[in-house]
Amino acid sequence: MTQQIKGSSGIIEPDLARRVNLDTAEHDVINPDLTRSPGKGRRRSPLRWIMLAVGLVATLALPWLVYPPVAMDIAAWALFAISVDLLLGYTGLLSFGHAAFWGSSSYVTGLIAINWGVPFPLAILGGMLFAMAIAVPIGYLSVRRTGIYFAMVTLAFAQMVYFVANQLSGLTGGENGLQAIPRSFFGIESVETDSFTFYYAAIGLILLGTWAAWRIVHSPFGRVLVAIRDNPARARALGYDVDRYKIIVFVLSAGLAGLAGGVFAISHGFTSLQELEWTTSGKVVLITVLGGIGTLWGGPLGAAIVVTLEDWLTSSGFEGTGIILGSIFVLIVLLFRHGIWGTTQDLFQRRRKAD
């Protein structure tokens, strides 16, 4: 009677796997190639100091290379994309409503700056806190869903925020948006009027946000996030309250998106309903996936490409920017399945293995 009774193999296992997923409602519907990110961003690359130095130099050189307001746009969108990557690349959650945090923070930042005239970093702090505050209930109500359902719930909430902002036109200016947002900065006039100097005053906030994302990813919390991304049921069996972790990372991500949105509003001196539109949520996901998820470098790279391209196409009077961007996105996702950064990383690793 020592013989193994057959049947515990092959045929039934996929079925069981499916059931475990269904039972815990953790099934992921997004293209697995996009979400099954390499996660190599958490491994300490031997080149990390060089990469960091190059990244910093590029950040500081940016307003020399492109028109300073465009440089600021790139930086803001880069942090916005990083906030999305924190969810998509590190936790496996695709938020399709991040405009709610970027946009609402841009309004709150603008209102604080207009009404109280405080130095702009304080106004941005206010916007960021507001974004985090609304992320608490939104996160609470959406993290129970996964995959495409999570994306749809976040989209629905973002549309609600859009609707509310449109209704409160007395406060938000409705269709006209918020005009003439000042850039007070402790009376330093060059920062307040010159976009080149402003870049250097504001980039500190973006770098701070980027550092915060790096800290989160490389913390014990960050490791739990990756565990949740790879296998939520297992994380629960180890005693981790998966929903709680998701709510917390959702709120942290909203804070970063809010920080970026605040900088954006101050940089432009106005904000409008466009920042709350679903197209903004879509654009930031596009930037993140284009650059490559799960690395933190992908977002900035994607932002640099998309914002520059957009600026270039619009200034050359071209009408079909959306079509061009859409086609590039489709091409890149088809050709480089892990985004530009992820694919480059793969190539390097293959080379190193081959050597």
Binding site: S8, D23, S219, F221, R223, R234, A235, R236, L238, G239
Partner: protein
Amino acid sequence: MDGVEPVQATSGIPLLQTSDLTKDFRGFRAVDGISLSINAGTIHALVGPNGAGKTTLFNLLSGFLAPTSGSIAYRGKDITGKAPEQIAHLGIARSFQITSLFDQLTGLEHLELALASPTGLGMRFWRSERQMGQFRQRSLELIDEVGLAHLADKVAGSLAYGQKRALELALALALDPSLLLLDEPTAGMGLEDVDRTIDLVRQVAKGRTVVLVDHNMHVVGSLADRVTVLQQGQILAEGSYEQVRMDDRVITAYLGNAHA
């Protein structure tokens, strides 16, 4: 129940007790009125043909499924309807029939996560991941115990099947549970690995209570103090391995296949 010994009078309350536990899936009754007592300090095997409801019962015990009716008591307290993470914190750990790991994390990182779970370190998003290093020593011991020391720094996704099973076991052990639920720990293993796993389970069962599902009768025969046979969601027989093996109904319902 002829041929099966009556439920023993045991000292004190059982560690885990289910009463009339039932689970329906859209009209299909996978677990059907199971009343089971698991005595502390024993290895209790659950056997039965495919689809008998063993894994579903595990999912109920570990909180991954809520029962349709019936209740579960652990150390005399009702734990019915608690979430998996709460049950884990009560000292009940489980392994999965389907290897269930974190593909992008190394073996050591897995074990550190399991060891960190009760400490709350996982919430510290402002601390360095190096903080997890405090669990490194114990993680190395655990990974050595299951014979994976040389693969400690490989990501789980790149491990071979048997190695994943071993890591799965180490992960359940890392939680230092009072009650360990093992769902087919030897599924798909070669003979050598099966024997090593038997030794390992015997070793970790010291001072613990183990509920073991396995189709391999060699495993059940060498480990189990008590065996419960399930069929179509119900308890068909219960007793020692020898008693259950002789039971006519069990032979026809289940072991019969193996004799053929």
